[in-house]
């Protein structure tokens, strides 16, 4: 298999070409899983799961341009794996074991913050998940995609205009403003029961 640069990987991943992430998987999977099992004491199943989470972080970093140069893919991926393992351990100590995949991902994100959400308890965090999930369902497909491209994947406006077939980066900005206003409105008007029932 030939070596791929960060730029080449970015091009493939941003266009949804499966070969990009498949390459990262093939190059670093064995190294990271073995390293996690050996150095953190987690079992193979947890290590496999953490490696998949690390691939998602890698995807976000390369799409947003945070990762511009890649000298050693295995070391880079292993570094992400270790950070995620620490985050998950910290979050589980605080909020107990996650109940589903969305919670797991949120634990991984919040576990990296010094004072996540100002010391809120697990029930508050779970209520936020329910509110945001309900608000996202009210948002149209284009807005949902656009907000994800802008705020989560942090792609450039020019690229987003091409992905969504919008006329220009300026149209992306105008549409983003409209979508953001709708988003805030949906969040304000969404009321979920505190026990989730």
């Amino acid at each position: 298999m030939t070596f791929k640069s960060a730029q080449e990987l970015r091009e493939q991943i941003s266009q949804g070409d499966e070969r990009g992430l498949t390459y990262v998987f093939e190059q670093s999977h064995r190294y990271c899983v073995r390293g996690l099992v050996k150095n953190t004491g987690c079992d193979t199943e947890d290590a496999e799961d953490l490696f998949m989470d690390a691939l998602l972080v890698f995807r976000e970093n390369i799409l947003s341009g945070k990762l511009e140069k890649l000298s050693n893919l295995q070391s880079y991926m292993y570094g992400i794996c270790l950070n995620l393992w620490r985050s998950l351990t910290r979050a589980r100590t605080r909020w107990e074991k996650e109940q589903n995949e969305v919670e797991r991902q949120l634990w991984l994100i919040l576990g990296q913050e010094e004072d996540p959400w100002g010391g809120d308890d697990g029930e508050y965090v779970r209520r936020q998940i329910r509110t945001v999930t309900a608000a996202l369902e009210k948002l149209g497909e284009t807005c949902r995609k656009l907000l994800t491209y802008v705020y989560i994947e942090e792609r450039p406006h020019r690229e987003i205009s091409q992905l969504l077939g919008l006329a220009s980066a300026e149209v992306v900005k105008v549409t983003r403003h409209r979508c953001f206003q709708q988003w805030v409105k949906h969040i304000e008007t969404t009321d979920v029961p505190s026990n989730g029932k």
Binding site: M52, K138, L147, G165
Partner: protein, 244 residues
Amino acid sequence: MENKDLLLISDYLAGDLSEAARQAFEARMDREPELVAALRRQQAQQDVVRAIDRARQKEALKALLQDRPAPVRRLTPAPLMRWAALAAAAAVALLVWIAWPQNPALSPQQMALGYMEAYPMEAERGEAPSQLSAWDSVALHYGQGDYVKAMPGLRALHQAAPDDARYRLYLAECLMQTGTYAEAIPLLEQIPAQNLYHDAVQWRLALCYLLDEKPDKAAPLLEEIRSSKHFRKLQADTLLRRMK
């Protein structure tokens, strides 16, 4: 919270403020705790959206990689056995490739149909239809892919404001999506070239000409797209090569 502050937060989080505007925004945060609270709320919601998105991506990733090699705990076959298996698989693949009947090439019209993607609705609403304005109602049906229901509203809007390029484009799109290419063509032709929607109009006009069996009119437009920075230049090139 005022609307302009909301949009300012949106731009700040998108990293879309100039250096001066960003500094001014951060200076305001020192004085206005309600602005900080609103920003924190948005960041927290963004964390949750990111978690939801990652959970979705992870499912897709697992499906993609499920047939990939070997979790580490699985036993690795001996190298000789692995090479023998690879050689056998390659031989089978070669035989299948040679024996398989080749698909007949698609016509340019079939390819154009494959390239037809509805122009995205620039803002979508989630309210009940009874509370909507004429445009919102059109946007709702259009966003749901119900072009037949969107069309009467668009026709009325177009009649009331015949120079509005947005109404023209969306009406033409509905006509295209329902297979009425001949009616979509004059609508697209009359949108001025300097318009914001120029690229989208140019591409759709080329597809309409092709699908309405006017390849001589489609070709120059496709040439223009191919030689520009248009985001459909690769597809235009493929269509032109297939037309020859």
